[in-house]
Symmetry: C2
Subunit: 379 residues, 2 copies
């Protein structure tokens, strides 16, 4: 049960290693592109693999509603369905049912809700979430939890966390023993150290193959998030992977890796690729901006992605302005490539004990900002 997690090196609180799954190795720290509806939007899976991704994330909530978990199971599982043979992590549906569904009714049993697509009625509980994730065939299954939006009062956060811990226990029991598949628990507790400790204690008591830090990146801001990450990872078993859910911007990830986090997922690189935003070592660049209109230079001259190898900023500006699909295709590819390059850089820095220098360089380049516009004729 579960997967071997080999930690090869540490640098401060940061770790680098490999999570060995039945479908292949996941190099950590790892960034998992989000493939919500059985596709990483605007990317072929071959291209996702080319960016260096070892694993993608699928969304239980979306997939159970469309096309349906039983249907995917009949068709051979999510890997075959979406043509991705490397590992897949699926979330439990708990977060998205609370943010997307309507007519929600939360009880000890679970959450009843109406689909945001067609209004049909559904139930998500620890037991149904485990069953859906089993039908999907995901390699890493997340325990079913509830996550209150912040700010919320401490009583609400405590009640929610304790419900999630009871659900974690039920998730563990419903998951059972599935060789080649792992189950991760999710720590909750908001910004409250004592609740985070209580949650971690409960999860360790149940026992999971990996531990997620949930309930962050929900509006509390980076300082508050780092405040929690200063102590929360240490509450979780040091020999198992730690996964910070839904994070984040590149500087969020760098700060979280420094604090001992091993895995991340976020829609940011793919979503912003569809709105004309390119992420580079110098920060985000809005390709819609007219200053790129005549710029023959690539988005990032040192980047080896197809968008930077073969296209000018002027072209990217043109296709973004003209709403051409290739704009989303190229910028999503670039952004995912940049994220994976960042993770690879972090892994090497940790392995060589040079993380501080890597992080200093990371912040220095971002502080410099994007390259200056060209001047003179044709600029």
């Amino acid at each position: 049960m579960g997967f071997a997690f080999d930690i090869h090196a540490r640098d401060g609180c940061a770790r680098t290693g490999v999570l060995r799954t039945a479908r292949g190795d996941i190099r950590t720290p790892a960034f998992m592109p989000v493939g919500t509806a059985a596709t990483v939007k605007a990317m072929r899976p071959e291209s996702v693999a080319e960016t260096g991704a070892d694993i993608v994330l699928g969304n239980t909530y979306h997939l159970m509603l469309r096309p349906g978990a039983e249907r995917i199971a009949r068709l051979g599982g999510l890997h075959r369905f979406m043509n991705w043979d490397r590992p897949i992590l699926t979330d439990s549906g708990g977060f998205q049912v609370m943010s997307l569904a309507s007519l929600r009714k939360l009880t000890e049993e679970g959450v009843r809700f109406a689909s945001h697509i067609d209004g049909s009625k559904h139930m998500l509980s620890p037991e149904t979430s485990m069953e859906i994730q089993r039908l999907l065939g995901s390699d890493i299954v997340m325990a079913f939890d509830e996550c209150p939006a912040l700010p919320a009062n401490k009583t609400r956060i405590a009640d929610s966390m304790r419900l999630s811990m009871r659900w974690a226990q039920r998730s563990r029991e419903a998951f059972g023993d599935r060789p080649g598949h792992a189950l991760f628990g999710i720590q909750q507790g908001g910004l409250e150290p004592d609740l985070r400790a209580e949650s971690a204690e409960a999860l360790r008591g149940i026992g999971f193959d990996g531990y997620a830090i949930g309930g962050l990146a929900v509006g509390e801001g980076q300082a508050a998030m780092f405040g929690v990450l200063d102590y929360a990872p240490d509450m979780l078993p040091a020999d198992r992977p730690r996964y910070l859910m839904g994070v984040g911007k590149p500087d969020d990830i760098v700060g979280a890796v420094q604090r001992g986090v091993d895995m991340f997922d976020c829609v940011l690189p793919s979503r912003s690729g569809r709105t004309g935003q390119g992420w580079t070592r110098r920060g985000p660049v809005n390709l819609r901006n007219a200053r790129h209109r005549d710029d023959p230079r690539p988005l990032d001259a040192d980047c080896t992605c197809p968008a930077c190898r073969s296209y000018s900023r002027a072209y990217l500006h043109h296709v973004v302005r003209a709403d051409e699909i290739i704009g989303a295709m190229l910028l999503t590819w670039h952004n995912l490539h940049y994220y994976q390059a960042l993770m690879a850089g972090l892994r090497v820095a940790i392995a060589t004990g040079t993380l501080d220098a890597f992080v200093a360089e990371f912040h220095a380049l971002r502080a410099e900002g994007d390259i200056k516009p060209l001047t003179g004729e044709g600029a």
Copy 2:
């Protein structure tokens, strides 16, 4: 000036050969995918090349308005701009200014109009069209012409055709002598044999590197179009390529090749790829249809495109219904692949003198229609 056109074989009126351009060979009969705004929509150019396309088409009207021909020239020309180093044919803008622009004013000089994007005022004439196509750097330049919508009375068609012939003369003079670039004239005359003959006579008198048949596929129907193609190609020089503009559906192309046409372009395969339609040897298939929901089979089991190699109809149905970009990417790729496979099949059939059998098989499979839905469990 112009390019060598080697006709390797004939079968009835059909011919197969190679048009040798400075940027590479174009195997004929050829289908040219349409890259309106410097992109074949939803495709990377590498993928367009993988489908077997030797040449793509760019639209003068769209590109002059956005991003602008001077800008593209400053950026190194259209090939570099859009990352396509094989031949490009550009239309003259004449057809699209009449169908897309507003506030059009047609005079002997040319057409004044307002941009459909931002209302800015522009002029297209034989001279400006030649200049724009020169700035774009296109390999095959089209003469500037006017094309009336059908049905139209014969006087209107005759007047329009004679204006287009005067413009063809001015296009020829404005084009001048440009080694490595070819200029094609465009025959007009609607469905009137005497006007088609008069137009062909005028074009032959001027002298072009290739000859297009214009003014068809504008609502007259296939029978009327084939009626014209029964005589029009023969009016044009037999030793130069003949290009049927804006055509068409697979059976339009097959019929036109049988009648001696060498080149085609059409938005159909790419446009229908964005609306959930896949074109196969068995005809069009609407992937939105619920009958594909549980179908594990590929769109076409004998097709070698990425969509058919790696995805089920159920997956294509899912991503089309969910409006996922990968639906447009995969179906556009498939459709362009199918079109190129059709052209390759026609070329081989002509070369081996088996065109009649090829066409009979083409129609027989289409008459059979799409494969039947699966029955039984899981269907």
